[in-house]
């Protein structure tokens, strides 16, 4: 509904866009419709959420690794959640785990990653003045902000925030009696997520429209950088899966507040039967995981796209298998929708159905392996430049591969009986989706920081940040696989009461120490990031000698990105180290007629089309009002 109302307003605004009226502070920095400012708003909000989300994990890691420690020093922050004897409240432990998952998956790695880089890079890399609808884009951020405020507010409830796990399975999430957090905390969680979904849909619709309709002249689909392909596919995934989450959340709200029985059936609490009859909690899991599984790829694909770009640029080599990269992303996106039930192998599913989903799940290994292979062959014999972005991109590939391998194990419905809901699963998805996407995010920030702020980040600090994070993450999650195989279930408050867990106490402590160290390493990044915004060296126009269009803009691009006409595109974005060329890179806006010494025969034939490309009526939003 709001999207439709937005249309009219957006039309009116864009018609006046080229008058360049002086903007007030509010228009320029707060309710801004410029995609670059919105991207930075997403990034900063994402960073704030990441600090909160990771701090939570440190608190429960201390609880798990050092169960006897005195946490009284956390009293100034956590107040009553720390008991008189310095113990963490078990209910609050569950809330921490839940909120850590919610925050990291949705607010950091979906909004913070997609929101930042789709917004920032799509117009800059396809040669557009701005998004298709700046107004909708602005709404998208402020809906996200509203969702953030509500979720943040829920942390301060007396009964605590939602605590039923980030997957909010009913009946735990549906009945206020189930847990203190299932009352107001869960209500706020649901409201916040409803706004979040609206935000993602507004943003995603805009990304897709912009990529398809606002490419500059000559920017055909087979010349799009892989980053744009990944953002496009991510947005399509979100468009198809987020409404389904809305659906499941809606029915849950009806169950909670109106007394319907979509998910509830024959439940006794303290010996008293609830009136709800005829619902099915498994129904919720189907609906939830129909979003939940694509969501994993919504988190991961932008990271993969960024990595493709960073690795090709810093290996000074064309990306290996450009078309295979696109095909494998499309394959992953398609498979993402037909594997959701592998999260439900042990919820009483028909074993035959389980084997179908197992088969489909294991097929995902094929496109993933293609991607891994292509990254490594792009690196192979390249003139590698180890910028911090490059280190994080390589680290991303490493984490993607080592986390993906355990996915093959978990995808087996038989093995899943042993491994379901253990720390093995936790280690698996933290490597392949959490850490890998976070590394993609870091690679993106280090790589495009000069374009965002016109300043350079400190390279040495970036490299130190990388090594601490990279080693730290492996030290956390490799031992965690063993803990999982040993049978430690996830989300348990402590493991002191069982015999079999005793001999793993040292390992748990080791994991916690490693987690705290890698947490501390992130402050190197924060210092580097914020210091460089103000005191960094001024960036050159094209610091990484890259081919894509964003580096042809002024150092700090203004409203409309390019001064004068939009650039035309004549070639793909991966002409690195082309034999015969003067430089080891040829930007996309250089016509073949200027690079006769390095053209392949079929490229010489394309020279004839250049005049036509130039003469094309391109999508300049300054000339034609959209």
């Amino acid at each position: 509904m709001s999207a439709i109302e937005g249309l009219d307003t957006a039309v009116h605004h864009e018609e006046h866009a080229h008058h360049h009226e002086p903007q007030s502070f509010w228009q320029k920095y707060v309710f801004c419709e410029d995609h670059k400012v919105i991207a930075k708003q997403y990034l900063i909000t994402g960073i704030v959420w990441a600090v909160i989300g990771i701090s939570m994990s440190v608190i429960f890691r201390i609880q798990l690794g050092m169960p006897d420690s005195n946490l009284s020093w956390l009293k100034p922050i956590l107040g009553g959640w720390i008991s008189e004897t310095g113990k963490l409240d078990p209910n609050f432990y569950l809330a921490l785990v839940t909120m850590h998952g919610t925050i990291m998956v949705f607010f950091v790695l979906t909004a913070g990653l997609s929101g930042t880089f789709s917004n920032f890079l799509i117009p800059l890399q396809i040669g557009a003045r701005d998004m298709a609808s700046g107004f909708m884009n602005m709404l998208s951020y402020w809906f996200f902000f509203l969702a953030s405020v509500i979720m943040f507010g829920s942390l301060f409830l007396q009964a605590g925030p939602a605590a039923g796990g980030w997957v909010i399975y009913p009946p735990l999430s549906a009945l206020p009696q189930a847990h203190p957090g299932s009352g107001m905390g869960m209500t706020l969680w649901l409201i916040s997520m409803a706004f979040f979904i609206v935000s993602q849909l507004l943003g995603g619709i805009n990304y897709i429209t912009t990529v398809i309709n606002l490419r500059t002249r000559g920017m055909s689909f087979d010349r799009l950088p892989l980053t744009i392909w990944s953002f496009l596919i991510t947005a399509v995934l979100g468009l198809i899966s987020f409404p389904v989450l809305l659906s499941s959340v809606l029915l849950l709200i009806f169950d909670r507040h109106f007394g319907t029985s979509f998910y509830l059936s024959e439940i006794y609490i303290n010996g008293e039967a609830l009136p709800n009859v005829g619902g099915s909690p498994i129904l919720f899991q189907h609906l939830f995981w129909f979003l939940g599984h694509p969501e994993v790829y919504i988190v991961l694909l932008p990271g993969l796209g960024i990595t493709s770009e960073v690795i090709a640029t810093n290996s000074r080599k064309p990306i290996f298998g450009y078309r295979a990269m696109i095909a494998s992303m499309l394959g992953i996106a398609f498979l993402a929708f037909i594997v959701w039930a592998h999260h439900m192998f042990v919820t009483g599913m028909n074993p035959f159905l389980g084997s179908v989903f197992m088969f489909l799940t294991l097929i995902i290994a094929v496109p993933s392996a293609v991607k891994g292979f292509n990254y490594i062959t792009t690196l192979w014999k390249g003139n590698i430049v180890f910028t911090p972005a490059m280190l994080f991109a390589i680290g991303m590939v490493s984490l993607f591969v080592s986390g993906g391998l355990t996915g093959i194990i978990l995808g087996n419905s038989a093995l899943d009986i042993q491994l379901h809901d253990t720390y093995f699963v936790v280690a698996h998805f933290h490597l392949v989706m959490g850490a890998a996407s976070a590394f993609g995010l870091f690679a993106g920030v280090y790589h495009w920081f000069p374009k965002m702020f016109g300043k350079m980040m400190n390279t040495t600090l970036g490299q130190i940040h990388f090594w601490f994070s990279f080693i730290g993450i492996y030290l956390v999650f490799i031992p965690m696989h063993y803990v999982g195989i040993a049978g430690f279930p996830r989300r348990y408050y402590q493991f002191t009461s069982y015999d079999f867990t005793h001999k793993f106490m040292d390992m748990n402590m080791f994991i916690s120490v490693a987690a705290i160290l890698s947490f501390l390493a992130q402050f190197i990044f924060l210092y580097n990031f914020f210091r460089s915004i103000f005191k960094g060296k001024t960036a050159p126009k094209n610091p990484w000698r890259s081919n894509t269009l964003e580096w042809t803009t002024p150092i700090v691009p203004g409203h409309g990105n390019w001064e004068g006409e939009l650039p035309a595109v004549y070639r793909w974005s991966y002409d690195y180290s082309k034999p015969g060329a003067k430089e080891d890179f040829i930007p996309q806006n250089i016509p073949y007629s200027q690079t006769l010494e390095s053209n392949f025969p079929h490229e010489n034939e394309l020279i004839a089309t250049e005049k036509e490309i130039e003469a094309q009526n391109f999508n300049d939003q300054f000339n034609t009002a959209h």
């Binding site: 298709a132 805009n206 500059t216 409404p243 319907t260 029985s261 089309t609 094309q616």
Partner: protein, 195 residues
Amino acid sequence: MENIQHLKVDKEPKETLAMDPMKFILWLFLVSIIMLFASQTSAYLVRRAEGNWLEFEMPRIFWYSTAVLIVSSLAMQWAYFSAKKDDFKSLKIAISITFVLGLAFLWMQFEGWKQLVAMNVYFVGNPSGSFFYVFTGLHGFHIISGIIVLIYAWRAVFKQKVHSKNLRQIQICATYWHFLDLLWLYLFVFLLTFN
């Protein structure tokens, strides 16, 4: 490198603009609504297959409301054709008919709910009834949003802003309204088939 060879086949480089971005945005928005209702109806089927399902006859009035919505959709199309021909008189009549019939549809849906209650089918109770209310309610909510879009278009029509040179707004309005019509037809047939 084969991608470049591909380009050679269609020597004429195509213009990159595929569609009016605002209309494209509308279509993507429709996709998200389709997914919302697709998930709802599949949830309905999954739940229905589990048994313990209350069967009830759909009140007559939903047949009539369906007819009303179809007529309003036809009127919308008439309005669009009139705008194309700069026939402002019939444009005003047509879009007003659409608007009135849209409101009538909402009222009839509400009457339908009352009749359901009279039949002892409640929102709170067996999921078969709950789903019926959720489907009609969600669709009604979207009809309200469609009516808001209609009001904008209606205002533009009476301010003489819609004519053969400026069809975008009425096109967006017509597409959305037809979509809501088709969506209801789908839900109606679905509920009749799997009651």
